[in-house]
């Protein structure tokens, strides 16, 4: 946190001066302010535009740096995700730069839990030596790299692993959007659309909460839509924090969203409310689909979802009437109610429902965004590594998975099978967040080389052989970020304060230097500035201008609504019937699939989701954010009062929660806001790395209870296929 006494001095001095004024009578602003300015005049405040790193959105922000220290942040007004605002994580996570628990020098593991500091040279030498040895003996496919992609990583990480000859580049999406990405990809040709919320008249959210998994501009748009009288339906087993903005909450049985969407689709067609013109022009396979759909009546869905057939019919009809300004929002994490065995099918059903409404590329509908046209490095001077011959690990097992993200847990699976020998984790806490930590731990221990690049000693870092300390995002420049959307744009993350720890390095430097020692330096023979200059070349913008503005949008390239582009599916159209699915051995027409497990009368399904103040596990060690958890007991699990009563549990009681994988002790929040069949646990707690002193020991990690499992279609982690029993214990 900011050094309070020092930086408050200006204000206190001003108060002293205004005190004199106050005793002379009432102080006005102007007098007060004059004194304030005088007192604070020696504080130099710089405003530096950059981008956030507290979640995957990377909102534009402006850092206010006082006397060389980060003082506060404000949202960048031009950036499409922030629109002048930042969420709590954005404000708070930036204090990581001054965290006492930061990594300050390269570390080498020398015992079970013992690390010793080494020089960068030694780290590079030893890591490259091992990498080359492994590649020589087992081939480049025995090496993998996984990250939570941010601007620089997105460019440098795949390039680095490809330079080594491996195609094994993975992202954290395996526990995020893999299902949605696969379902959308094979239906509409993109892994995600965006929603024109502010113009929509009828919006349905399934398992997605703008108020919890925040992108500030989305919440602003939703609030605007509400002001304009839009109907907003939340489908979720718990009344999430977006509830205030909603018209109606459908408290669905967890894992049954697919049945709801199928039934609503059936109603649309039955009532002749589907957009026949759109279907004729832009889709294939509608007749087969419509025929299959007949069996999914609202009465059928009522039995599965617990939502009255009347409500299903009413909402579907109202959405049909509001089309094309009606949509099911594209969701994010885990696609629609998160990762169940049927989530990819749910993603597909949703993409198809939006097609029935003909809302693609329509005002108030689902939008295919456009990207900015950026340049590349001159290939003559800066050769690209050639595409590796062997396919990415998991490609064979999960042919439908979205290729660019891959199935990151395959690294662990192949390590357990003895095939994967080395893994690099950049800005990724896979050991805690990607699958059952026990299994992940075992997998990591099987490998000959694990390298973690991070700013703090995450669980993954503790299991690594080498830990490379990165500077924080407040202390580095990054690769230009292209923003796609209705209007394309670019944003730059840039350094705000001097490096706090001299032995830390920005990621582009780490890759460039490591590549050189590994013998593939020829692919990294450029500086970050050269790369950014090359990217900017086709635009009329200079690097200096971008540095001054931070975010620049290209309103002249705004997409035209009403014109549906040729889709990137094999047929170029929305695919109600998918040959790709068929070839992969799945039903080409969307169908109802049962969740993998179901709770009995004496058990619950464990579900998880975001809280507005945390993201992944990275924010758990940030005192200003964790204090909110403590002040409001936010680490508790949610249980429905009727079920709690039957178990003799009262609000605040300590309970034991037991699954096939683990047992946890935690206090409960008894609330009507949750489905009786479910227990909700917020997803950011359970830090087991003792080096993270703020987060350590708060709450429990739901991943401990999640079996190491892959959803059959997209390879996503089946995070919500977990049954638990709960009993009261003595506190």
């Amino acid at each position: 946190m900011v050094d309070t006494k020092l930086s408050r001095r200006g204000f206190i001095k001003a108060s002293a001066a205004t005190a004199a004024l106050a005793s002379a009578g009432t102080v006005g602003f102007n007098e007060w302010f004059k004194e304030y300015v005088k007192a604070g005049s020696n504080a130099e405040i710089k405003e530096i535009p950059s981008t956030c790193n507290a979640c995957s959105s990377k909102c534009g922000m402006i850092g206010h740096v006082k006397n060389g220290r980060l003082w506060k942040l404000t949202g960048h007004p031009d950036h499409p995700y922030s629109k002048g605002k930042l969420c709590a994580r954005g404000h708070g996570y930036a204090t990581v730069v001054y965290s006492k628990d930061r990594l300050t020098q390269p570390l080498k593991r020398v015992g079970e839990k013992k690390f010793e500091p080494i020089t960068w040279e030694q780290a590079y030498e030893e890591i490259s030596g091992k990498l080359n040895e492994i590649i020589k003996e087992h081939g480049p496919q025995a090496v993998a790299l996984t990250e939570d992609p941010r601007a620089s990583g997105k460019f440098y990480s795949p390039r680095f692993i490809n330079a080594l000859g491996s195609s094994n580049y993975f992202t954290h999406h395996v526990v995020c959007s893999n299902s949605r990405d696969a379902g959308f990809m094979h239906t509409v040709g993109v892994s995600s659309t965006s929603a024109d919320i502010s113009n929509a008249k009828y919006i349905m959210f399934i398992g997605r909460s703008y108020g919890d998994g925040i992108r500030p501009s989305s919440v602003q748009s939703l609030a605007a839509a509400k002001d304009n009288g839009a109907k907003i339906i939340i489908v979720d087993p718990r009344l999430n924090n977006t509830g205030n903005l909603a018209t109606e909450w459908l408290a669905i049985r967890p894992g049954t969203d697919l049945a709801l969407v199928l039934a609503m689709s059936q109603v649309l067609i039955k009532e002749n409310l589907h957009d026949t013109e759109f279907i004729k022009n832009y889709t294939v396979g509608f007749d087969e689909y419509a025929k299959e759909l007949k069996k999914y009546t609202p009465e059928w869905a009522e039995k599965i979802t617990g939502i009255p057939a009347d409500s299903i019919t009413r909402i579907a009809i109202d959405m049909g009437k509001a089309k094309p300004k009606a949509l099911i929002e594209q969701s994010w994490r885990g696609a629609f109610g998160c990762n169940y065995e049927n989530s990819t099918e749910t993603g597909r059903a949703v993409a198809m429902f939006n097609a029935l409404l003909g809302n693609y590329q329509q005002k108030g509908g689902s939008i295919f965004g456009t990207k900015p046209h950026l340049g590349n490095l001159d290939e003559g001077k800066h050769a690209n590594p050639k595409d590796p011959d062997a396919p990415k690990a998991g490609k064979k097992e999960f042919p439908l998975a979205y290729h660019s993200h891959g199935v990151a847990t395959m690294v662990a699976k192949e390590a357990l099978e003895g095939k994967m020998k080395a893994a690099i984790y950049y800005h990724s806490n896979a050991a805690l967040g990607y699958g059952n930590p026990k299994v992940m731990k075992e997998a990591l221990s099987k490998m000959d080389l694990v390298v973690a690049i991070d700013v703090q000693m995450s669980e993954t870092a503790r299991l690594a052989h080498y830990v490379l300390p990165e500077v924080t995002y407040i202390e580095r420049d990054e690769v230009i970020e292209g923003l796609s959307g209705k209007i394309p744009g670019i944003a730059l993350r840039q350094q705000m304060v001097d490096k706090v720890h001299p032995e830390t390095k920005p990621i582009h430097e780490i890759y460039t230097e490591l590549a050189k020692v590994c013998g593939v330096g020829q692919y990294f023979n450029f500086s970050l500035d050269e790369l950014n200059e090359a990217m900017l070349a086709p635009t009329s913008i200079t690097y200096k201008q971008l540095r001054e503005k931070g975010t620049i949008m290209f309103p002249n390239d705004e997409i035209k609504l009403g014109e549906v582009p040729k889709l990137k599916t094999p047929t170029g159209k929305v695919e109600f019937c998918s040959e790709t699915y068929k070839e992969a051995g799945f039903n080409p027409i969307v169908e109802w699939i049962e969740p993998k497990v179901s709770p009995a009368d004496d058990s619950f399904r464990l579900i998880t989701g975001k809280q507005a103040i945390h993201s992944h596990t990275q924010t758990a060690n940030i005192p200003i954010l964790m204090q909110i958890t403590k002040d409001y007991d936010l680490e508790r699990i949610w249980i429905n009062p009727a079920r709690a009563k039957a178990l003799g549990i009262k609000d605040g009681d300590l309970v034991e929660l037991k699954s096939s994988e683990a047992t946890s002790k935690i206090r409960v929040k008894v609330t009507e806001r949750i489905h009786p069949e479910a227990i909700f646990v917020p997803s950011h707690y359970g830090i087991t790395s003792k080096d993270l002193k703020t987060g350590y020991g708060v709450g429990f990690g739901y991943m401990e209870h999640v079996p190491f499992d892959f959803e059959k279609w997209s390879g996503a982690g089946n995070i919500h296929e977990v049954i638990v029993k709960v009993r009261k214990v003595k506190g």
């Binding site: 946190m1 900011v2 309070t4 204000f11 206190i12 108060s15 002293a16 205004t18 005190a19 106050a22 005793s23 009432t26 102080v27 006005g28 602003f29 102007n30 007060w32 302010f33 304030y36 003082w71 506060k72 942040l73 404000t74 949202g75 605002k85 930042l86 969420c87 709590a88 404000h91 708070g92 703008y210 108020g211 919890d212 925040i214 500030p216 919440v219 602003q220 605007a224 509400k226 924090n241 977006t242 509830g243 205030n244 903005l245 909450w249 459908l250 408290a251 507005a612 103040i613 005192p623 200003i624 204090q627 909110i628 009727a642 609330t671 009507e672 806001r673 949750i674 489905h675 009786p676």
Partner: protein, 178 residues
Amino acid sequence: MARYGMVIDTRKCVGCYACRVSCQMQNELPVEESYIKFYEKETGVFPNVKNEIIPVQCQHCEDAPCVSVCPTKATYTTKEGIVLVDADKCIGCKYCMVACHYGARTQDHNTGVVEKCRFCAELVAEGKQPACVSTCISNARIFGDLDDPNSEVSKAIVKMNAQPLRPDLGKAKIYYVR
């Protein structure tokens, strides 16, 4: 002379705490100290439930009890109606903390000074919005001149029939829509 006030529309508040954290950063508060507190009110029975989140901070009362009890006059009201604390005069006696109906005051454990929401006086003097208002992700907060009938805040109060949180406890300058 402006008379500053705020509207908080709890029907829009999603309880994201952005206002709390931005306020802490703006005012360089220690981690444990916050000017904004949150109350939750759940009504109804599953599945017919409503949940209201009510952010509460200093209400900048007219005839503020904290001002009248303060023995050193450390707490005072500016001409614009902002209730401020003069850190140099505050002796940390906590009378004001007891007098405040809203539990809006906190003591800085480092300095002993009792503080509270200051309506971001220095930002407002520069013509800017308070930190909590400019960062509110759902635009649930509106700030401005209560004496100007054309200000956004005055119009919002009329349009949405915003009321003080506890009208029975006297006039306040924060109005709630619930």
